[in-house]
Amino acid sequence: MFKFQSFFLLVLAASILTACSFSESSTSSMVSSESSKSSSASSESLGKLLGSTSSASSRSSETQKQTYERKVIDYTAEFVTSSKGDLQAYRAKISKIAQDAGITNWEADRGTYVSIGKGMRKAELSQPQFDAFRQSLSDNQTWKLDAITEGFGK
């Protein structure tokens, strides 16, 4: 009986040890020196590069747009309330969020700027803060100013 109990507890312990799903993730290198380039390294690297992009079958485009806009809102809200505000960092992150959603040119997408405005509203920015951030991102283009204002005002 004792042996059975020990075995049972061992199995239980093993189940705790291995609980939680493991994620599939490549730990390959994106860079190799010319002398050590190999096709396997390239394919591993491609796997890592592709890791963040889903297949076309697995994502609904409608859901993806909504998810993208919400990510822009959330990130904007978090960014504007954090102590460091580097615009280069902000644009780089929006680009990453956009590329992950399948959009290569977010600067031409009106919905992005509306979402940026919504993010600023979520962060409860003061009017002067809002004006400054809006001006920085609008590239002096009226439609971008209007879109951000629309998002902020809703």
Binding site: F8, V11, A14, S15, I16, T18, A19, C20, S21, F22, S23, S25, S29, M30, V31, S33, E34, S35, K37, S43, S45, L46, G47, L49, L50, T53, S55, A56, S57, S58, R59, S60, S61, Q64, K65, T67, D74, E78, F79, S82, K84, D86, L87, A89, Y90, R91, A92, K93, S95, K96, Q99, G102, I103, T104, N105, E107, A108, D109, R110, G111
Partner: protein, 622 residues
């Protein structure tokens, strides 16, 4: 008829016939996913809000990382592909409480993603610097070139690109000749050459920024925000250079990067032509603005945009749909035979749905949908012609076109480069150290189940962790440090302590098919046929699963007997594996050992292994 050993009474009482498109009611959902071989032998836990699911995965570094998914895909992956059953408790909550909880999990995701992105960027910096320095960083040999993978470059240079090489075009793309001309008219006749020269100088002068290890303080409640890392800026500059070279030489994309759709599948008419002409004009204006963009990654956008412009022009000339290929052949994953007909119908529906966006207001979102759907129907048709199974997983959501680019080192001596590398390595070591301290998986104290309860605590109890006013809306706090560490016990703790309104079961694929088929066939014959790997039709063994003979997940008192048979088969493979080591590198030995271990719990009525279906593809609907 077999009865599951676990949650038997609950399953029989609560089993609902759920379609794969069932919606979740508003509120909070606590989910338990039962175990299977490989990814989670102890089961898994998740929390959901409406269609959004959050769960903590154990990543290869040994940390826990939060992931957010949509429920339909989450459900498909676990129940269909991994053949596991999902159990769900649903609570109804007041709107503000639900929002508060959902926001807190969203925020965790945002912050963790920012930290992981920075980590990956630092690792890329280290690799690039190491590649330049070579095997002997402190000798007198010159710094050598390295290779970087850059997205977009492969659309025009599929075999790789060397910025130093002169390109000679024998058949310039008219589209790009015109685009280059318009660019010069807008910004000046020397714009392309001047911008190219400027980028080359920037590349030579680009230096990794010094990183202050002492200032590094990662926090789980603070976004990590920083300028793009050195390797990111370097790659972006190379992409921009590649784009300008393509434009200057009017290079056409590699022919395999454009797909021409069968007109029978994708009819063409005057209205389509007119709509695409309007979109083409918009796209062209956007491309003209790109080199002046404040974004540092405009090069990739320009590469993709130029290829799309060429595709549009070909469409208009040929009166036939031509789009950029989204195929990336990193590995072949043939579609499950059961899904062939479904996939063909589904792809046609995606195409029809995408066509609805063909209006004068077409923008990149709408064009991307058309591009995706076109790729899917093309792949299915091509697979039919080539008499193979389609590889839908190779069709990506957006253009990637990655290729190797020769990265010449900047003008500096080895000692300076070595100093940058050492700075990066020190900083990276501390970064990883702090990430481990924040997110390390711990056998006792921190796993996917406990982390959910901890985040709920943090969210509901306020900053000082003393405010318990909101908690009664959920129920009594569950101690994530006790037995609730174990996912299936955590699920039971939720049932006992929270205000669970309803509970549901989403059965695994095998159990679902068994239930559905019982009305169509002799149930005893069906159970017998599907009880083992040899005669089962609902499961096909593959090398990703260990060898086993009998399915034990739907057995109760017979489970130890099944375990005995499975143990024997695992042992057999292990013994075979011992002899096969010189030939297979230990693959059979490893699999046999796993099979043996997975069978042991069956001897004491525990089931882990259920077989899996990795070929199944989730076909998202709009």
């Amino acid at each position: 008829m077999h009865k599951p050993a676990k949650f038997t009474a609950l399953q029989l009482w609560l089993l609902l016939v759920c379609s794969l498109t069932s919606e979740l009611a508003l509120g909070l959902d606590y989910l338990y996913i039962n175990a299977n071989e490989g990814s989670a032998s102890g089961g898994h836990a998740a929390i959901g809000f409406d269609q959004e699911i959050f769960h903590f995965q154990h990543v290869p570094t040994g940390w826990l990382r939060i992931v957010r998914e949509e429920f339909p895909e989450f459900r498909f992956r676990y129940t269909e592909r991994e053949n596991r059953t999902i159990y769900r408790h649903h609570l109804e909550l007041p709107g503000p409480t639900e929002s508060r909880l959902r926001e807190s999990f969203n925020r965790v995701l945002l912050i963790e993603d920012s930290q992981y992105e920075r980590l990956e960027a630092l690792q890329a910096d280290e690799r690039l610097l190491t590649a330049w320095l070579g095997q002997y960083p402190d000798d007198t040999q010159p710094i050598q070139s390295a290779e970087i993978l850059a997205k977009g470059v492969g659309i025009f240079f599929p075999e790789g690109w060397n910025p130093q090489q002169t390109i000679r075009t024998t058949n310039p793309a008219q589209t790009l000749l015109e685009l280059a001309e318009d660019l010069r008219k807008q910004y000046g006749p020397d714009f392309i050459s001047q911008t190219t020269e400027q980028l080359q100088q920037e590349l030579q002068q680009l230096r990794p920024e010094p990183l202050d290890v002492k200032a590094l303080q990662l926090k789980e409640d603070a976004l990590f925000s920083s300028k793009p890392a050195f390797s990111e800026r370097y790659t972006e500059s190379l992409q921009a250079l590649a784009a300008l070279q393509v434009l200057n030489n009017a290079l056409a994309p590699e022919p395999s990067k454009l797909i021409h759709l069968n007109p029978t599948l994708a009819p063409w008419d005057k209205q389509t032509a007119q709509t695409l002409k309007v979109y083409r004009a918009k796209l062209k204006n956007q491309l003209l603005a790109m080199p002046q963009s404040n974004r540092s990654d405009w090069g990739f956008s320009l590469l993709v945009g130029m290829a799309r412009l060429i595709a549009l022009d070909e469409s208009l000339v040929r009166n036939q749909w031509v789009v950029l290929s989204l195929r990336e052949d990193e590995r072949s994953v043939a579609l499950h035979p059961d899904q062939l007909d479904e996939a063909a119908t589904w792809a046609k529906l995606r195409w029809q749905s995408a066509q609805a966006g063909l209006t004068q207001a077409l923008e990149e979102w709408g064009y991307v949908r058309l591009e995706q759907a076109a790729n899917l129907i093309h792949e299915i048709e091509l697979a039919k012609r080539e008499q193979r199974s389609p590889n839908l997983r190779a069709i990506k959501f957006s253009p990637i076109g990655a290729a190797s680019v020769v990265a010449s080192p900047p003008e500096q001596d080895k000692a300076e480069l070595l100093a940058y590398l050492q700075n990066r390595q020190t900083y990276l070591a501390e970064f990883e150290n702090q990430m481990g301290a924040l997110y390390g998986y711990q056998l006792v104290g921190r796993n996917c189940a406990s982390e959910i309860f901890r985040q709920i605590d943090l969210s509901l109890k306020g900053e000082d962790q003393n405010d318990i006013q909101l908690y009664p809306e959920v129920g009594e706090p569950v101690d994530g440090a006790g037995l609730a560490l174990i996912p299936f016990l955590a699920f039971e703790s939720v049932r006992l302590n929270w205000h669970v309104k309803t509970s549901e079961v989403f059965p695994s694929r095998r159990l679902r098919l068994l239930t559905q088929s019982e009305t169509q066939a002799n149930p005893y014959w069906l159970q017998l046929r599907e009880s083992n790997v040899v005669t089962a039709q609902f499961y096909r063994w593959h090398s990703g699963d260990s060898i086993f003979l009998i399915f034990s997940d739907d057995l109760s008192w017979l489970r130890p007997i099944a375990g005995g048979f499975n143990l024997a088969s695992g042992l057999g493979q292990t013994v075979w594996g011992l002899f096969a080591v010189p030939f297979d590198g230990g693959a059979n030995l490893h699999k046999g050992a796993i099979g043996f271990l997975m069978s042991l719990p069956e001897l004491v009525f525990f089931n882990i292994r259920k077989g899996s279906n990795p070929e199944l593809e989730y076909l998202a609907t709009d």
